[in-house]
Amino acid sequence: MAEAATNWSPFGDRGRDLPMTRAGTTIAIAETPAAFVLQGDCRDESYYKAAEDVLGLALPKLVGEISRSETCRAFWLGPDMSLLLAPATQAVEISQKLAVLTARFLHASFVETTETRAWVTLEGPSARQTLMKLTARDLRDNAFPIGACVGALLGPLHALIERVGEDAYLIAGPTSSAEFLATMMRDALAFA
């Protein structure tokens, strides 16, 4: 369960260097959403439908897919595995909904993972160029349109990258490596 916020930041000293802007492109710390990993057999139509009823969104079935409701997003993390994100204020409500849902299906379970990721935004004309220095993922429009999300290596980090606008991305990395993530992205934006 998400706890009340503290003054501690996983970005440590590097957090003081953010936001950072170079030539109109900015890296900034993003709010940490409540996060839950939901697993269940999506071939079970009744489960899939129940999830849609409870959460207000259809669980993503394909790599790169995101489903959205008014307040909640679901990323495809793996076969039958979704990452649900919601504003931190709704953590308890989402948790309760998931408990209700998973109690009905033996194959389903959920785990809160809010604490496991730290989030940054990257926005501006050289945002894609900056990411191209760090990831081997195809970031062209046809392969990574606005609204898509992928799990990818960002430098040595396992990260989630969501394209949230023409030149805007939301990036999540492991909380323990948030300082490294910030250092690496600042370097990529500033270098050359």
């Binding site: 379970s109 785990v111 191209m132 323990s176 490294f180 370097d187």
Partner: protein, 976 residues
Amino acid sequence: MKNRRLSTGGRIDRSRPLSFKFGRRAYTGFAGDTVASALLANGVDVIGRSFKRHRPRGLLSLGIEEPNAVLNIGRGRNGQPNRIASEVPLTSGLEAWPTRGWPSPQFDLAAILGTWPAPLAAGFYYKTFMGPGLPRALLGGRDAWNGLWEPVLRRMAGQGTAPDGIDPDAYEHMNIYVDVAVVGAGLAGLAAADTAALGGASVAIVERDTVPGGRTLSAARQPMIDGRSADAWASDTFAAVASNPGAYALLRTTAFGLYDQGYLAAVELPSDGKTAGRIWHIRARKIVLATGVMERPMVFPGNDRPGVMLAGAMESAIARYAVKPGDRAVIFANHRGLDGLEAAFADADIHVAARVVIDEAVTGVQASRGRLLSVDIAPVRGGAPDMTQRRRVSADIMATSGGWTPALQLHVMTGGRQRWDETLGCFLADGSGQDGILIAGAAAGKFTASSALADGVTKGADAAGIEAGIVPPVQDFARPPEGQGIPIAAMTNGNARKRAFVDMQHDVTVADLELAAREGFTAIEHAKRYTTAGMATDQGRTAQVATAAVVAAATGRTIGDVGVSGLRPPVTPVPFGALGGRRVGPLFDLVRKTPTHARQEALGAVFEDVGQWKRARYYPRRGESMRDAVARECAAVRAKAGALDVSTLGKIDVQGPDAVEFMNRIYTNRMDTLKPGRCRYGLMLKDDGMVFDDGVVARITADHYHLTTTSGNAAAVMDWLEDWLQTEWPHLRVRLTSVTEQWAGVAVAGPDARRIVSQLAPEADLSNEALPHLAWIDAEISTGQARIYRVSFSGEMGFEINVPWRQGQALWDAVTAAGAVPYGTEAMHVLRAEKGFIVVGHETDGTVTPHDLGMGWIVSAKKADFIGKRGLARPALIAKGRKQLVGLEPEDASVVLDEGAQIIADPDALPPALMLGHVTSSYWSEAMGRGIAMALVKDGAEQHGERLWAWSLGQAHPVRVRDTVFYDAEGAQMHG
């Protein structure tokens, strides 16, 4: 030195003179020069010494194939070894250093080796340096090779000097995706890129030169394309390609590796010395290799003398760099396609003293101080030179051409093969290799400008999946070397063969290859390895065909039957700095920090790397040594209470109706009997029965477990569990989630631990009855919600408090404020060793079973199966003679044994002594007042009470073997 710069012509910018140094001497060149062309213009004939024989060497070529002019560029931390002089653009203030030659390349004391060719023949090292049979004591305990010869040869050989500091240059990496990638911006490459781009494909074109155009840049007579000179057409077309949206047009960028599935790696090395270098990771649907050709030198006695250059290099020197390489030339070729060279010589007013083509051969040269004086020429009759008709012609330069070899290195790297084409006299791609790779232009045997251009258009259209367009009209001025023969001059004299160099970078001669064939190394890959032909940094670019030709002749086969050897990336040397990119300094490796990291830093912690985690090892106070600090921390835990950050432990959430079955299969002990609210120590084995990992399993509910792993092994354990679940037991309804960073943890250990934890969680019942050893509860503590595990890795009463990660620092503050003394991982190790607790990676190394560790008690005999059960039943794992874990007490209590010390029975035994085992953990124990250790010892369980010796670094200490539990064997402290 003679100034050889022509007063007009060339592609140099005479308005921008550039000063540079070669060795200790200063020279001047111009913008547009390479280091090679500038040295040539300054009359520097001898640029280095050869690898084995230290023969004087000059420039052979002015391209990437250059085998001799491999220089150090810059010095000290700015130094770059292995740079090909012809590939380094001249810049102001550049310093270049010869790779070999002492005191100078012109006068090299080691040249004595060149007068002594016989002992340096193929296989010399293998045959010679096994002896002499000197006593090892004289050789530092090593054999003759390691103790004597290798150190000597290392000093004499080598390919330059490594930089002596951190590379000041900065590099980055860039990942791009395109529809079509084209390697080479010669005529074919440009035509392919332009056609593909016009067809709507996104295109990347990479060119190692500073300007597009390929061989036309060096041509004395430019072909005309579409009414323009070829270089104008090339420049316009390159710009047109670059202007397309999503296009990448990269100069000074060398494609050095081609890998699976259209992955091309290229290195961009800017020439201005200011901007960054860059590795380009290019992924393309189709790749067009328009890599051109390399000219082959003729092989004849003395062919390595300075002044002997490739015909194309001479033409380039004159046409591109405005350098007149000499005054009087001999031309020696196995074909007649030398119109360009003849035109260049005419332009530069170079007299051609002799044209030795096909019916004649050069049988020797005379040189003085490295410079060519004259050339011996004889007619060839019946395949041999007629020495009775030999004539001597004075000349200061010789242009040789043994034909052209398509540059197919990238094709070969993808598994593509080559076939010998009798008509063209060269190896061509045989159609094998990966899908999606097309070869165009001269690399495909299209040697004329018109055929290369047409082929480029065709391959570009193929790559883009469109119909081929119109080929621009081309007017050629020079004949290509079609009908070229074998580039080996006829030779009769055996000694002459010892001076006829096939691979100049590694000093491999015709005689070497013939010797290899006589000794049975007849396969091309064997001959390569025996003689090292093709194994230098140039990968034998100028040597491949000649090597095949010599081996073919020596074994009675054809060149096609012999073939050429394989090639590996990189095509050309790539700076390590470029490969590293931005993964240097603070970005060298991923760093993981716990939420208490800032607090540990403030306490002055000395950190250690555990996996990628930074963990506080100990907290030295002013004036304390590590041993003092660790002893103080241990004493605090034993006397009162200590706090250890255990956030790094791997944590995995296991849920599902089949979770019980899954856990029972994963661990050696039973997890079905574990009740909700309780914990159990568990051991995982690999399927061979060897210990893989350990940790604590907590049962949350009937179908829900939470398990911990060792800090460094968390990802491996997660992979292991998923592997079994997904591939072997997909029917088990179990879900795994890594929650390592969901939970931060602080261990509170010591007699005072309960009081401290109670202070944080006043509402929680922490009594032995409510929370006994190996139980857990959820509780509200001062920082918020927490989960408290009653576990101990110290032998004292212990609690591990887990809170959400972002609460970790607050938890640490609360625990230490309540009186727990911070202790680090070193104290943790001492405390656990005193209790005989193992650490995976210390007491185990992938060859150790639970029984070896004396932990047979954790292997369930009742379970039907678990991973490793059948492995453990193998006879060898239960036979006598296995190494078993024991405790050791040095007889001298003040001694702390070296970890890794070898256990022996007799300290006076001569090497090789029988090794009985080794020390796995060793510490100073403040609680025991002595050094303690654990060791894996042969039949250790039967050796308790025996006296053995622990040997390390020349010292042997007597030790007494005992059980592994040094402290509180009854466990009274732990259970409270």
